[in-house]
C-alpha cells in the first residue's frame, strides 16, 4: 500500500494511486528532519545495541556457566523484564527516572532507554548460541592446558560470533522501531526518525511519508534477511 501510494502524483493520500512520480522519494531526502532523524535513530540504535551486547555477553556467560547460581531466576527475570513490560509504561518510568531525576541530556537518556529495551533480545540470542555450543569445548581447551580466559577467547568466542552479529542486528532493529520510548525521551536536539515522521504528519498529509515508509520496510526486511542468514530469527528469539 504505502509502496503504491508513494509513486502517486496526487498531493494527498488517495487510493487507488494516480500517475507515477519519484518526487516523494526525493522529498524524503530533501527534508532535513528526516535525514537528521535517520542519523539520530541509526546512531542511537548503533550505540545502544553495542552497549546491550557488551552487557549481554558477560551476563549471559555467567548465567550459562553457573547453572546453580543463587538468584539465577531473579537475574533472568531482571534481564527479560523490559521485554515483557508494556513499552509505554517503561518509557514513562524512564522519563521520570533517567530524564527528570538524573537530569541527563536527551540523547544520552535515549541511548540508555534503548539499551534497556533491546538488551533482552541481545541476551536471548547470545545465551542461545552459548547453550547451543555447550560448556564441554571450553573445558576441553582447559584440560589441554589453556587457562579459562584463553579458552574463552580462543575457543568459545569464535564459535558464537554468529550469535554476536545476529544479536547486534536484532537489537539494532528493535531500537530503530522503538517508537514510544523515543516519543517519551526525545526533546530538543535528538529527534529519532519515527518522531520526525509523526511531527511531519501534523503539518502535511502528502505521500512523502508513504515513500519513507516504503524505504523503511525495505531497510528492515533487508536487515531481517541478514539476521535470518546469520543466526535465524526464530531460534534467536526463543
Amino acid at each position: 500500500m504505502p509502496l503504491l501510494i508513494s509513486f502517486s502524483t496526487s498531493e494527498s493520500i488517495n487510493f487507488p494511486p494516480q500517475g507515477f512520480t519519484l518526487r516523494w522519494f526525493a522529498n524524503v531526502f530533501n527534508y532535513e528532519s528526516f535525514m537528521n532523524g535517520f542519523m539520530a535513530s541509526s546512531s542511537i540504535a548503533l550505540v545502544s545495541s553495542l552497549s546491550a551486547i557488551a552487557i549481554s555477553l558477560p551476563s549471559s556467560y555467567v548465567l550459562y556457566r553457573h547453572k546453580g547460581l543463587r538468584m539465577k531466576g531473579l537475574m533472568e527475570s531482571l534481564f527479560t523484564l523490559p521485554m515483557l513490560m508494556p513499552e509505554i509504561v517503561l518509557s514513562y518510568m524512564l522519563l521520570l527516572f533517567v530524564y527528570q531525576a538524573l537530569r541527563v541530556v536527551s540523547l544520552l537518556s535515549l541511548i540508555l532507554g534503548h539499551t534497556l529495551v533491546v538488551m533482552p533480545f541481545g541476551m536471548r540470542v547470545i545465551y542461545a548460541s552459548l547453550a547451543n555450543l555447550g560448556v564441554d569445548i571450553e573445558d576441553a581447551a582447559v584440560s589441554l592446558g589453556k587457562d579459562r580466559l584463553g579458552a574463552f577467547l580462543e575457543i568459545v568466542l569464535p564459535n558464537i560470533k554468529h550469535g554476536f552479529v545476529g544479536g547486534f542486528l536484532m537489537c539494532f532493529m528493535v531500537s530503530f522501531n522503538a517508537v514510544s520510548i523515543s516519543l517519551f525521551l526525545s526533546y530538543g536536539e535528538a529527534v529519532p526518525l519515527p518522531i520526525a515522521m509523526l511531527n511531519y504528519l501534523q503539518i502535511r498529509y502528502d505521500p512523502t511519508l508513504a515513500a519513507l515508509s516504503a524505504m523503511l520496510v525495505v531497510f528492515t526486511v533487508g536487515l531481517s534477511a541478514v539476521v535470518e542468514k546469520t543466526v535465524g530469527l526464530v531460534s534467536g528469539v526463543r
Binding site: G68, G134, D136, I137, D139, A140, A141, V142, S143, L144, G145, K146, D147, R148, A151, I155, P158, N159
Partner: protein, 347 residues
C-alpha cells in the same frame, strides 16, 4: 604408592546435600578403572574432581605422589574425552589434535612426529584437513581420543565415551579404546552407566551409589559376588530378600520368611540374600536331596533363546531365567538352587 589417589573427597553443590560423601579411590599406573553407576551417583563429579573442574570442599587428590587438590585444571596434564566429544568446530582435525601441543610450545618437528603417530594409531590418516562437522560420530570420537592422548597426559578420563556410538559398533570401539590404552599403558578412568560396557573394558570396576564407591574389584568378581544390595541389583540379581537369622553350625543356612535356605559359606554377617535368575532352575520332578522351593508360575516373558518366569514361592516372588520353555502360567513347579549360588549381602 598408587599413581592416582583420592582420599575422603566431599563435594557439595548445594549446602547439606553432598554429591560425593568421603569418596576414596586409588588407581595404579596403566590400570583402567571404570566408574559404574546410575545417573546422579556422583561418577561424573568424581571425574570432574580429578580433572580439576570441581574443587572438593574436603579431601585430597594426589597424582604421582603430588598433592594437586588446589592445582588449576589447565596445569594438571589430564586428557579428557567428553561424552559430547567437544571438538573445536572451527578447527580442522589436525588443529584440534595439536591444540594442546601448541599450548605447550612443542617444536614444529616434534608436533608433526607426535601428531602423525597418534593419527596412525587411531586410524585417522587422510582426515587431517577435515572439520569435525564433516566426520561421522565414530570418527569424531577417535579425534577426541587422539586430542586427549596427544598431550601425553598422566591420566586419561573418559565420560560415557560410547553413549553416542551406534550400539552395533560399541563393542568394536570399546576394544579399540582398550587396545590403545594397553599400548600406551595410561591410567584411565572410564565413566559409564552401562554395566556391559564397564565389565567389558575395565581392569577393575567401581560401582558407585549416592556419592560413595560401594564395591571395587575385578569385573568377574563384581558380577558374580556382589557385596551389597545395590551392586547385586545393578548386576541383575533380581531376587533379593532380607535375612531373619543365620545358622553357622553344621550346614550353614539363613532364614528368609521362616523358610530355611542353604548357603555355601557364611563368613560374614549379612542382611540380605541374593539369587541370580540365571542360576536357578525350574523342574516338575526335583532330584532327591536337591535344594528347592515349591512355587507356582504366575507370569512368563519370552527373551529369545530363554524365558523369564515369575513364580510365587514361600519366600516371595522369584524370577528365573532358563532355556527350558516347557512351563506355562499356573503350573505348580519346584525352583532348584545350589547353596553356593545363594549370596549373602552385607547391606
Amino acid at each position: 604408592m598408587k599413581h592416582l589417589q583420592l582420599n575422603n573427597i566431599w563435594v557439595y553443590y548445594t549446602k547439606g546435600q553432598p554429591v560425593l560423601k568421603g569418596l576414596d579411590l586409588e588407581v595404579d599406573r596403566g590400570e583402567l578403572v571404570s566408574l559404574l553407576g546410575p545417573s546422579g551417583c556422583g561418577k561424573t563429579t568424581t571425574l570432574r574432581v580429578i580433572a580439576g573442574f570441581v574443587t572438593p570442599q574436603r579431601g585430597r587428590i594426589m597424582i604421582g605422589g603430588k598433592d594437586v587438590t588446589k592445582l588449576s585444571a589447565h596445569k594438571r596434564n589430564i586428557g579428557i574425552v567428553f561424552q559430547s566429544y567437544a571438538l573445536f568446530p572451527h578447527m580442522t582435525v589436525w588443529l584440534n589434535l595439536t591444540y594442546g601441543l601448541r599450548i605447550r610450545g612443542v617444536s614444529r618437528d616434534e608436533m608433526k612426529k607426535r601428531g602423525d603417530r597418534i593419527i596412525e594409531m587411531l586410524g585417522l590418516c587422510g582426515f587431517e584437513d577435515r572439520y569435525p562437522s564433516e566426520l561421522s560420530g565414530g570418527q569424531q570420537q577417535r579425534v577426541a581420543l587422539a586430542r586427549a592422548l596427544a598431550i601425553q597426559p598422566d591420566i586419561l578420563l573418559m565420560d560415557e565415551p560410547l553413549s553416542n556410538i551406534d550400539p552395533k559398533l560399541r563393542e568394536r570401539v570399546r576394544t579399540e579404546i582398550k587396545k590403545v590404552q594397553r599400548e600406551l599403558e595410561i591410567l584411565t578412568i572410564y565413566v559409564t552407566h552401562d554395566q556391559e560396557d564397564a565389565l567389558g573394558i575395565a581392569d577393575r570396576v567401581a560401582v558407585m551409589n549416592r556419592g560413595v564407591i560401594e564395591q571395587i574389584s575385578e569385573p568377574s568378581k563384581i558380577y558374580e559376588q556382589p557385596e551389597t544390595c545395590f551392586v547385586a541389583d545393578f548386576m541383575g540379581f533380581e531376587n533379593i530378600f532380607p535375612i531373619q537369622s543365620m545358622t553357622r553350625e553344621g550346614e550353614p543356612s539363613v532364614l528368609v520368611k521362616d523358610v530355611k535356605l542353604r548357603v555355601g559359606t557364611l563368613d560374614r554377617d549379612g542382611k540380605f540374600v541374593a539369587l541370580h535368575p540365571a542360576k536357578l532352575t525350574i523342574t516338575r520332578n526335583p532330584a532327591p536331596g536337591s535344594e528347592r522351593l515349591s512355587g507356582r508360575v504366575t507370569d512368563a516373558s519370552f527373551k529369545g533363546d530363554r524365558v523369564k518366569y515369575f513364580l510365587e514361592t514361600d519366600i516371595g516372588e522369584l524370577s528365573v531365567l532358563t532355556s527350558n520353555k516347557d512351563f506355562s502360567v499356573g503350573d505348580s513347579v519346584y525352583v532348584c538352587y545350589r547353596p553356593e549360588d545363594v549370596l549373602v549381602l552385607r547391606g
